[in-house]
Symmetry: C2
Subunit: 313 residues, 2 copies
Amino acid sequence: MDLVTIDDISDAATRIEGLVLRTPLVDNQRLSQELGTRVLLKAENLQHAGSFKVRGALNTLLAWQERGELPEGVVSFSAGNHAAAISYAGQRLGVRVIVAMPSKPVPSKVANVERFGGEIVPTDDLATTLGELAERHGFPILHPFDQSEVIAGQGTAGLELCADGPSPDLVLVPVGGGGLLSGVAAAVRKLAPSARVVGVEPATSNAMSQALAAGAVVRLDNPSATVADGLTAPFAGEHTLPHVQAYADEVVEVGEDAIQSAWRELVESSKLLVEPASAVCLAALRTGVVQAPQGGVTVMVISGGNADLSRLA
Amino acid sequence: MDLVTIDDISDAATRIEGLVLRTPLVDNQRLSQELGTRVLLKAENLQHAGSFKVRGALNTLLAWQERGELPEGVVSFSAGNHAAAISYAGQRLGVRVIVAMPSKPVPSKVANVERFGGEIVPTDDLATTLGELAERHGFPILHPFDQSEVIAGQGTAGLELCADGPSPDLVLVPVGGGGLLSGVAAAVRKLAPSARVVGVEPATSNAMSQALAAGAVVRLDNPSATVADGLTAPFAGEHTLPHVQAYADEVVEVGEDAIQSAWRELVESSKLLVEPASAVCLAALRTGVVQAPQGGVTVMVISGGNADLSRLA
């Protein structure tokens, strides 16, 4: 298949301009001092609907609209952020959204979908339910990560972080299904060629690491046992795997304790309400599984902010 | 006395450039929809040391340094944010910092002072202890609000919000001793003359409202009984009162329940970790004590992010 290129990402940026926030790249002095590298946070938790996911969702619907193919409705599956994002995008463009979500989701994520008129179908088997929904409604799938337009849309976050800050030496990206890493790596590989781009996933939900090791997509049996609920993809995709192989330097894994403590430290030091999925990057630096470029520039992509406050305190 | 002017604020901006963050002005779509006005947050919770206070602290020390009057040490009093800010500024410029703080402070605020090497003197009478410290050490006072250089420094937040966003119709500012309101109002009055500038203080800690009513500084007996701990100034100042009289349109009061519920809603909707003091502005809009300009632009100045997470959940 054709990989997403910087041109696809630039087109996506033009398409979604004005509909998404150009989120700030926030200096974190406290983490910079602790880690010996200038830490900048690409704060997608401030994005509309609370995560980077609106970038890919809007780019996909708008690309379909350009081709005269905007459907009446779409179906998808999601831990919550993609569901909210496509609900948001669908509401803007008059497209019905039906989405399979885990039967025990994070409550704030359910509220965030309902706020934008999305219809939730609870399930314990996301992939199977998605197939059933697609068949029943005859709507196309707007995939949470495994679609070229989605990857190009997520890549606009990478385009912005390269344009808005100093040239990065290291870019860290949380990995669920790998859409964000695919897009950001495609952008950074071109715009900051000397930067290392590293994906981070929970050791208990490591679909991309398994896919990279096997050289093929691997379906996980139980990917939900992580505090980083946003990263519980049941597989890395047919599209995202080759993007990560081509554009990223490495994908690493972090444990649950490291994520939990990094989460709290990230919120306290950054003054940003982030979800635990966003803390895997800090966890990777603190556990030493990734070395920070001493005296250099490290960008962590903060994926989202749809966290339940009660779990943080 | 001479009031701080836009020229003083511009000088301050030049002086502190590169030492403070130009904090983002963050669109809040959820509050915008709820309130019928475009809500922008000037996110000073992301500022170094966690609040706007570094602006005034650095401007004062740097102005003294320019005049060849940089002291060996300074003394002050603070609920916590000013203490952290002058500790931060003092550490940068090699100035010792000794600060009187409430004997039962917010724990995260104590940690934030100690992180930057500030020396804390716990007290139940801030003003008296400050006088004692000044006498004992022979150091000048770097006042939390009642000093021209401090007011000019805080005003740089107003300068930035006018420069970085659409022209505001309403600017809301939390009020403790009134330094932030004084500076921001001075800037906005000049740069966006048609905007209303409104200060908001807790009804239980309303030194500025009392001073405005009396036409003179009023000392409060017990100003600490508010969840908005950052706004417990024991008096509005000899400097800040005339600035507010000259530059601000109004100062309003909000109750404790309104602050508490606005705090949670502000954090959840903005994805910013803010301290409760920052929520008084939202409380003022939600209680109707201030009318939002329907279809217009409302900027809320988010004063700081030094909150204890446990109090939020």
